[in-house]
Symmetry: D2
Subunit: 239 residues, 4 copies
């Protein structure tokens, strides 16, 4: 399938500490391991024309992976609406880390999507709470990330359709770190880890979860619902 990885791609250009970790950008690191699954993986970034999110690109995309952080507001309303609509039309969406605050995710959730955060080298331990979920395939009871940004509850999202992972943070917080949401014809997976100053996307379990998430988010050939005025199927009595 066609996987499009969208990255804001600003930190990497402005902060050597980030580009040292992700010399090809976060999108490059994500693309590297997603390619291993046989997907056709392409990337797009904020500073491209229309952010690399033209209609014809989205129309060809099965699953979009989104990473953004400091420039959410630079994504145009038009592009954000176009992506949202494409998700509702059936494109899968994997929302990573700080993309919780992206226009696209907020529009799809309808809530503020805010949370607590802290950059203090917290150890994070991500516990699985749904052993049946295909996104948890190949994962143990939990996995650890030695140092990460903390995200803490309350995470202002709708109650997820499925809750897969919960994070424990060294500094005392918890977080719903892996959650799914169905919206329209689209499947959305939010996954917490991935602050730009840590090598999180090289973590094997993190990669496994994202690979699973991309596969899970792919559209199946479901019913094509028609909306609007509908003729009766059964006879309606005269009243």
């Amino acid at each position: 399938m066609n996987v499009l990885i969208w990255n804001e791609y600003r930190h990497e250009k402005e902060n050597p500490a980030v580009s040292d970790i992700y010399p090809e950008g976060i999108h490059g690191a994500l693309a590297d391991f997603l390619k291993k699954d046989g997907h056709t993986v392409t990337t797009a970034t904020l500073d491209e024309e229309e952010h690399g999110l033209k209609k014809e690109v989205l129309d060809q995309t099965d699953v979009l992976v989104w990473w953004g952080h400091k420039a959410h507001e630079e994504v145009t309303e038009e592009a954000a609406e176009r992506v949202k609509q494409r998700v509702l039309d059936g494109m899968g969406l994997v929302v990573l880390h700080s993309a919780h605050f992206s226009k696209v995710f907020r529009k799809l959730m309808g809530t503020g999507c805010d949370l607590k955060w802290r950059e203090a080298d917290d150890r994070e331990r991500i516990w699985n709470v749904d052993p049946t979920h295909p996104i948890a395939e190949g994962i143990g009871q939990y996995f650890e990330i030695e140092k990460e940004e903390m995200y803490g509850e309350h995470f202002d999202i709708p109650a997820p359709d499925e809750l897969i992972f919960l994070s424990w943070f060294e500094g005392g917080e918890v977080f719903r770190s892996g959650a799914t949401f169905k919206r329209g014809n689209g499947k959305i997976f939010y996954f917490r880890p991935g602050h730009e100053t840590y090598p999180t996307y090289y973590h094997e379990d993190v990669q496994t979860v994202i690979r699973n998430g991309v596969r899970w988010a792919q559209n199946t050939n479901g019913p094509k619902h028609q909306y609007g005025n509908a003729a009766p199927i059964e006879r309606i009595s005269k009243k």
Copy 2:
């Protein structure tokens, strides 16, 4: 508590068939029976200044009941955003019938909120599927509305937090007619019946459900969550 009933109030002014049924407007009919619960009930309509939805009005409102149909697009973005934000801040919202397509509901749901419809005097039978829910208090196994507009699946909403009522329609369709959604600090109840050309809001069971819905949607004194940068509660080890 303070209940604000918002009505588009156009059909009643333009169509005698509607004003014959609702001489004081749909908002007037809703206000009549909601007052019986001891609430302080006020009304607001589209053509008032800022649609009667000024910030100070919303700030004083515990639960907002919304009916709109043909003029959703005339509600300004500003007003719709203000109402949405107030719901996220804790105001309850009862969304009636064609308000499924209101800007406020669509923003809160994040989906298209579309459905099938037909104006053909379908008989509607509304079945309860959650006998524990306070919104179903005082209702039987089902209740019937002799003639109503049909709304049919697929109803393009997120999977509701709770599904309370399912409708059967004479013409062959079904519909998730009573459903709840929590968003931010706000509680939302969608209830299907109430096409303007039928006397649905005089139906005793319909009134009972709306009265229950208003009570249910009222904010409780829940946790006030803080967001943003957070100091650690526990000591974080040096790494």
Copy 3:
């Protein structure tokens, strides 16, 4: 994968009207189309030793499909507990029609699982309400069964994890006809149609849904959780 179809297999032996429709038994009809997916399909019936549900059989089963009706009580407690435990350990379970009242399903749900029913040649129209679900793959907006037993709400089950299909019945009822439940490591799909006196299991859409359900219910290689006394992972301060 290994699919085991369990059938009570009494109606077919006692009632020619049923055996005319299902000369190889309902299990035979189910096996026929499930084999087309490349599964290794075997069958078992009530009157076999241990109902054909010995531990070693269940241990080799990936997904169990269950049909029962008039002899639920003849399934021994031991066998029902064994099947339940195997589901919790990860075997998928597809529960068909009157198996809503089977010991296994009731034990897994924890509720009465009762419903309304009527054998009166109702026309049934099954509407999809979740277009994203893999179990709805290949299905249209709805499909019809010309004549079926009616099952009506209230269906006394826990709120399903996912609601996929709703039925409309000619006689005036609705029903949650396709629903999923995760229990332990097992995935459960309940699907309503299939009264023994109708040729429902030859219906193409019914077959598609069951085939999808079997695939969906298969266990993924999820986390193997350990329970019981657990050593601390982090240092606990002296208090």
Copy 4:
């Protein structure tokens, strides 16, 4: 309303460390603060005749609060079934701490209800994740218990209908500590804290949550569903 508190009442009789904390038994401590809400509070214990759970007692009970730990297996099948059935008939149930392993809770959940545990004076921090829920009324973002037994994921329960609290434990685990489940006509609230060797039930926030839980679990006058053979409401065509 009538609140019945059931306590195993063995630790208090056998272990002075427990009876020092709860000289009137855990049930006594629970009764003390629940009485403040104006309920008629009674208690029952394992060693009473029929465990104090005779049919006529249960029939008069609106909400049952259950604490048990070391003697779950001494509760007779008959009593456990009777309580389960009464919950399905509409009695509320508040399940505390180690009652996760009670026969009643396991029967109602249908799963193993197992978890990780450790008695090591972990600090527990209980975070609210649903600010709209009446059970969280009067609670802050989180509250702490200085020392408690640890319960860790995976907690082998069905996905709750509502998730209200998540626990952080000093030793590195997380837990879904406050969760609701609707079963039949009954509402069930599971709340984690309360190991017998700690004075947890004197903790103000713990008391607030339990008081809220009892109120929430009370039955509303919902639909009385009829089951079984049902005459058609609409005319069924001859086929």
